[in-house]
């Protein structure tokens, strides 16, 4: 029907699969997000390190070119777990910055404009809503963390051969698990904090400050209770411990890996509880 004909007709056609309907939210979010040149530029900038790593891997696997140039091959050039840990640390920091830029725009505007009743009056649940909003971040952060990380590993494996690959099979698992833990934490923090404060400027400040607040709180707990367990609320230390343990590296964070995982799941649980309380079609005034 031509749109200029002012009449209404009901719909009796096919419906989409309810299981994938949460992906509608990222689609519309990306339309809005990529209207910003700054964000696009930032994402392009996030590819610089992976591209540099590609060059590095090529050099490390072609040391013969130093001899061809009459130069000795530098001994520090090697690819192992610490190389990928550095990669993950750097890209993880970029993921954090990206979260502070995008995160506050996800849920806070919906809450500020009271849009939730129109979402939830449809066959669309609160879980799907939160999953949809989180997947906006999870997809983007994946593109700058574990996806390039695994591509680099694949490239290194293809260059270095089977022996190296067999000896370093823990690396892809560590890249994926470490990245996903970080992405999950950032996404949950972003949506929970923006749902909590409803105002995107404050939400951005909170996401930026939550790591500092955690570190301060950890120091306070440690000094008051004369313990090291305060580190379990310090998000930076939690994540660094998890990453290092995945890559088999020693750390001096004061946390055992299992303590870090407990802290990690504790923070995730708090975020989920916050979301459960705040993401409702109607606020119940008791």
């Amino acid at each position: 029907m031509a749109v200029y004909k002012r009449s209404y007709k009901s719909y009796a056609g096919e419906l989409t699969n309810p299981r994938t309907r949460f992906l509608i939210l990222p689609k519309y979010s990306y339309e809005r997000l990529f209207a910003s040149r700054f964000l696009t530029g930032f994402l392009v900038a996030s590819c610089f390190l992976p591209l540099g790593c590609v060059g590095y891997i090529y050099i490390v696997n072609n040391l013969g070119m130093f001899a061809a140039m009459g130069m000795p091959a530098p001994e520090f050039l090697k690819i192992d777990g610490s190389f990928f840990l550095f990669f993950l640390n750097f890209q993880g920091a970029l993921a954090y910055i990206l979260t502070t830029l995008i995160g506050p725009n996800l849920i806070a505007p919906d809450l500020a404009n009271n849009a939730l009743p129109t979402y939830f009056s449809r066959p669309f649940s609160r879980t799907e809503y939160v999953t949809g909003k989180m997947s906006v971040l999870m997809i983007l952060l994946s593109l700058i963390t574990w996806v390039p990380g695994l591509l680099l590993f694949t490239m290194q494996a293809s260059q270095a051969g089977w022996d190296w690959t067999w000896a370093n099979l823990y690396i892809p698992r560590a890249i994926f698990l470490g990245s996903m833990a970080w992405i999950l934490l950032l996404s949950l923090l972003a949506v929970a904090l923006s749902a909590w404060v409803k105002w995107k400027v404050v939400a951005g400040a909170l996401i930026l400050g939550v790591f500092g607040i955690g570190a301060g709180l950890a120091a306070m707990i440690n000094s008051v209770l004369v313990t090291d367990l305060g580190a379990m609320v310090d998000l930076s230390r939690i994540m660094y411990t998890i990453w290092s343990s995945q890559f088999g590296q020693e750390t001096a964070t004061g946390l055992e890996p299992f303590e870090a995982w407990i802290g990690f799941f504790g923070v995730c649980t708090v975020c989920l509880l916050l979301l459960e309380r705040k993401i409702r079609p109607k606020e119940i005034v008791k």
Partner: protein
């Protein structure tokens, strides 16, 4: 006629307060008015039908589907226009309505087509690419209506659709509701505290007070019933005229100075009135078919349950 909304002992509690108390009713009309003073529980009932609040007791069915057990099914059958502002300010109307269509299960291309159609239908065709945050209050109401009908629901719930509208915008909104009713494609629940809006658009009305149903009426039937209530003003032989009408089954009461109030029997043909007046050589100065307005019905219901 099949049931649109069926409540069976529905009780809703928020915290320790009972907001809806043991509601039992079967609504079958094409347009159903939900009336009541502020705090009567109208919005709570709507929110319960949408599955936002869980009943403490009893059940609610929409087109035969239990709202808690078959929440997705029920929500796919309903379009909801909330009372307050409810949109994403930095989205254009067409993007917003399209997204809502897709969330209801429409394929992307269909949702886009229907978003354009619905925005034209509600009269926002020329403004559909403007951001919702720049809309006037009346335009926001229309945009909310568009998102409520984009997926072709069988039941549209309109919560105070004329709230805050100026008279022309209010007339436009009511005309739209009447058109939707006339097209016969969907059922409409109109929740309002404005009696005139409900009277103009609805054929069935439920009046709530303090969480209970105090009146349920078919407005068309009430109107028909009350057409027999007549006020006349006469000059001439009043007593003979009254006696003749009473002989035909009318109840007459003299209000003085030639004014009479009469309740005519259902089979009474109005031409009999003129014939009797002529026979009695009576001059009919004024005749008024007085109907109970919805306001009368509402006030009576409120008084009965005071």
């Amino acid at each position: 006629m099949s049931s649109v909304i069926q409540l069976q002992g529905l009780t809703v509690q928020l915290g320790k307060r009972t907001i809806l108390n043991n509601l039992t009713i079967d609504l079958k009309g094409r347009t159903i008015g939900l009336l009541g003073p502020n705090g009567a529980g109208k919005s709570t009932l709507i929110n319960t039908l949408l599955g936002f609040y869980a009943p403490a007791a009893g059940s609610a069915h929409v087109f035969g589907h239990e709202v808690r057990a078959e929440m997705r099914k029920v929500r796919s059958l309903i379009g909801y226009m909330p009372e307050n502002d409810s949109f994403v300010a930095d989205m254009s109307a067409v993007t917003y309505v399209r997204m809502m269509g897709e969330l209801s299960g429409l394929p992307a291309e269909t949702a886009l087509e229907r978003a354009h159609e619905c925005l034209f239908y509600v009269g926002l065709g020329e403004a559909r690419y403007r951001k919702l945050g720049t809309y006037s209050l009346g335009m926001k109401q229309l945009a909310k209506l568009a998102q409520a009908i984009v997926h072709g629901p069988r039941l549209v719930i309109l919560d105070e659709p004329t709230n805050g509208l100026d008279p022309p915008a209010r007339r436009r909104m009511l005309r739209m509701i009447q058109e939707m009713k006339a097209q016969g494609e969907m059922h409409i629940v109109l929740c309002s505290h404005l009696l005139r809006d409900v009277e103009d658009t609805c054929e069935e009305v439920v009046i709530l007070k303090q969480g209970s149903i105090v009146h349920h009426a078919n407005l068309d039937e009430e109107r028909r019933a009350n057409r027999r209530f007549v006020e006349i003003e006469t000059v001439g032989d009043e007593e003979g005229f009254a006696a003749a009408l009473e002989a035909l089954g009318a109840e007459c009461a003299n209000a003085g100075k030639g004014r009479w109030k009469m309740v005519l029997p259902p089979e009474f043909a109005m031409r009999e009135l003129y014939r009797v007046a002529s026979v009695n050589d009576l001059e009919l100065r004024r005749i008024n078919y007085r109907k109970d307005t919805l306001e009368d019905i509402f006030l009576k219901a409120m008084e009965r349950n005071a």
